[in-house]
């Protein structure tokens, strides 16, 4: 008894500060958030206890999910995530594949592709708001003007002001910023595959496609999964980029994180908390299976 305490004690003591902080500031606050989300705390008076608030359980969630405006936000979130994921994975993979070939100036290209990631979403959003200006014809600016100059007038469009798929335009700067990061991940993956495997496959007469299909891709799949999870959860929490390109009140670019902000600013804490919980669940659906999988692999 004493012996096992002596063995477990110091590590526990060392871990205690971070455990306590995580318990209070992550799990405690998730709990507090959930508790707010199941009340009818929709006004400033209730938030300060001037008027009573009652527990209404999942009523806020049902009301939100049944609300057409919130469904529009969720649809936007899905569209944004799909395009953002597909775009970064494709661009990142192609760049990594190109840079994996022995070539001169690889370091320069790697830095160039990785560099946009160093810019904050808010700063790049200000520039992209101008690039994605929706004016066409005579008063066009930004990308639409560029299309006119190079004679591709037909490509002009109203970007994020399209009410059904406008959110996809905001995925463009997001792809531009994070493709380099996915490239770095894939490049590390490529470099981690020993040359012997490729040589062996070639010796056995595998074509270039077969080499990728049966030898390299399986080796890259853990990297691809990590990239998907990292980009995926960033995309689900998208807020800053949308806020700096568009405005919180613009219907065409609403996503749940923006709704949460608007609810909070109108003192509707219950709905803001409910949106937060919904986002947490969506992110958990993506992340938890990944954690379970990596956990299993580590045990093996």
């Amino acid at each position: 008894m004493l012996k096992s305490l002596r063995r477990a004690g110091p590590p526990l003591l060392l871990l205690a500060p971070s455990l306590i902080l995580v318990a209070v500031f992550v799990y405690g606050l998730i709990g507090a958030n959930f508790r707010t989300s199941i009340t009818d705390n929709h006004t400033a008076a209730q938030a300060t206890g001037q008027e009573p608030s009652a527990v209404v359980w999942f009523q806020n969630y049902f009301a939100l999910l049944g609300d057409e405006a919130f469904q529009h936000s969720l649809k936007n979130l899905v569209l944004y995530t799909v395009v953002f994921l597909a775009g970064t994975m494709l661009m990142g993979f192609v760049w990594a594949w190109l840079l994996d070939k022995p070539m001169r100036g690889e370091g320069i290209f790697r830095s160039i592709y990785l560099f946009p990631m160093a810019v904050s979403f808010v700063a790049s959003g200000v520039v992209w708001r101008w690039l994605l200006n929706s004016n066409q014809g005579e008063s066009a600016s930004g990308l639409n003007r560029l299309f006119q100059i190079i004679g591709l007038d037909a490509l002009q469009n109203n970007w994020w002001n399209n009410v059904s798929v406008g959110i996809v335009a905001i995925a463009i700067p997001a792809i531009w910023q994070l493709s380099g990061y996915v490239m770095a991940l894939f490049l590390a993956g490529f470099r981690g595959i020993p040359d012997e495997l490729r040589e062996a496959a070639r010796m056995d007469g595998a074509s270039e496609w077969k080499l990728y299909r049966h030898v390299l891709f399986p080796q890259l799949s853990p990297i691809a999964l990590s990239a998907l999870i990292i980009i995926g959860h960033m995309s689900l929490k998208a807020f800053d980029l949308i806020m700096s390109i568009s405005k919180p009140a613009n219907y065409q670019t609403k996503v749940p994180a923006v709704d949460m902000y608007v609810f909070k600013s109108s003192f509707d804490y219950a709905n803001a908390a409910a949106v937060g919980s919904i986002l947490l669940v969506i992110v958990a659906v993506v992340i938890v299976p990944y954690l379970i999988r990596t956990n299993r692999q580590e045990k093996r």
């Binding site: 002596r6 004690g9 110091p10 003591l13 060392l14 205690a16 500060p17 006004t43 400033a44 008076a45 938030a47 300060t48 001037q50 008027e51 405006a69 529009h72 708001r129 994605l132 200006n133 929706s134 004016n135 066409q136 005579e138 008063s139 109203n158 002001n161 009410v163 390109i245 568009s246 405005k247 009140a249 613009n250 219907y251 065409q252 608007v262 909070k264 600013s265 109108s266 003192f267 509707d268």
Partner: protein, 432 residues
């Protein structure tokens, strides 16, 4: 390197003690800070929370502080201005400070219904007796006092300045080039839209507008023009039916007006939309009279380089919004705050502040000749017109209602809903 067990246990223990000490010390200093309030009435300083951190607003605040230091030399002014986002950053911070019961001594807020949330939450004090003490009831227009009086009959803030929302700004050069008389007076929106049609046909942007809140701003002036002052006020107290045919007609006018506007509107804010008129890229812009500062900064003269007139159909009505100062519940220095409120309400304070900021005093006893040409016309209208509350600037409705109306408006102007849906969403929003 290998640590033996005892060393690592000691390190862990030390770390824990350190953390606990840190927690205690921050708690202790918090107590010390609030301990100040107990002794004395707290008349030695005043923290004034505003979003006046730049430009003409900063100049106005500085002028007001100058008067404050003369009137109350024994009270130290502490500037609690928060920059960013046209006040949204300040409002976010204020919300959490009030929630944490750490209020500033006084804060800036739009006068009128926007205060309702703070009143309901018992976060600000009734200042009606200060109106009597400072003699403000007689020098503010009766209409204005009505508009800033809350539902319970008390007044919760003292306005420092007044702006007019229903103003059209126009570029006379663009108008003349297209055969329109810049001095023309439009009796109603239809007459105005005839000229907007002419401009549209000539390939000029007839009317510039920016993102959602400026569209709501346009909407409120159209509602005011279509319904008249009395029925417009009724929209906010429930006596005018949002589903009525008159509102439908006004919304049709709004739809028509939106069809004259620039297509990149949702990405712009008001300075860019007003700039389109200054640069001659658009003929008209509907914006509050803070826009006059944008023209004057670029050395444009009223009458020759730009013209301003009430939105057609709203002549004789002053669509007001006002900044005001409050007395939060539990303010650490209430006497300092009262001293500040006295300066805010005083003639010298209002004149100094508004001359620098470009707005007009809420008091009617200021000498108009001290102000600029545009301000003089606004002071004249303010003295004689019917005063109604602005929707887009928080005077008419609480924040939640305004947010719901903004959402419905954005949905409509981005093409996601039709007029009938829009009208029913507005009706639902106004019911709250």
């Amino acid at each position: 390197m290998r640590l033996n067990r005892r060393t690592s246990a000691t390190v862990a223990g030390a770390a824990l003690v350190g953390l606990a000490l840190a927690a205690c010390s921050s708690g202790g200093s918090g107590d010390g800070g609030s301990g100040d309030d107990g002794n004395g009435g707290g008349a030695d300083e005043v923290e004034v929370f505003t979003w006046w951190a730049a430009g003409s607003e900063k100049a106005g605040l500085d002028a007001l502080v100058g008067v404050f230091n003369e009137q109350h030399p024994d009270v130290e002014f502490i500037n609690g201005a928060v920059a960013g986002g046209a006040g949204s950053a300040a409002k976010d911070l204020l919300q959490s400070r009030l929630q944490a019961q750490d209020p500033p001594d006084t804060f800036q807020a739009h006068a009128g219904a926007e205060l309702q949330d703070y009143i309901d939450a018992a976060q600000i004090e009734d200042v009606s007796d200060l109106y009597d003490e400072f003699g403000l009831t007689d020098v503010f227009p009766a209409d204005l006092v009505d508009r800033v009086t809350a539902e319970d009959g008390a007044i919760y803030s003292i306005p420092s300045n007044v702006h007019r929302a229903n103003v059209v700004w126009a570029n006379p050069t663009v108008l003349e080039e297209n055969g329109i008389d810049p001095a023309a007076e439009y009796a109603d929106l239809d007459a105005w839209m005839a000229d907007l049609d002419t401009l549209q046909a000539a390939g000029v942007t007839p009317l510039s507008v920016a993102t959602t809140w400026t569209q709501v701003h346009l909407l409120e002036t159209v509602l005011l023009a279509g319904l008249g002052a009395e029925a417009y006020n009724g929209l906010w107290d429930g006596s005018t039916d949002w589903e009525s045919a008159e509102v439908t007609a006004a919304l049709e006018d709004f739809e028509q007006l939106m069809s004259y506007t620039n297509s990149d509107r949702d990405g712009l804010d008001w300075p860019e939309a007003t700039q389109m008129v200054i640069d001659g890229n658009a003929a008209f812009n509907v914006m509050g009279d803070w826009a006059v500062a944008a023209f004057e900064e670029q050395d444009k003269a009223l009458g020759t380089d730009f013209v301003a007139f009430p939105v057609p159909g709203t002549d004789g009505v002053f669509d007001f919004l006002a900044d005001s100062f409050t007395l939060p519940v539990g303010a650490p220095h209430p006497d300092g705050a009262k001293a500040w409120l006295e300066t805010v309400g005083s003639l010298e304070g209002q004149v100094a502040f508004n001359k620098a900021k470009g707005s007009i005093p809420a008091r009617t006893d200021a000498d108009p000749s001290e102000f600029s040409e545009y301000q003089q016309t606004a002071i004249e209208s303010f003295g004689q017109d019917t005063i109604v509350s602005s929707l887009a600037h928080g005077a008419a409705t609480p924040v939640a209602t305004l947010n719901a109306i903004s959402d419905a408006t954005s949905k409509f102007t981005s093409g996601a809903s039709d007029l009938a849906t829009y009208q029913s969403e507005l009706a639902a929003a106004a019911q709250g």
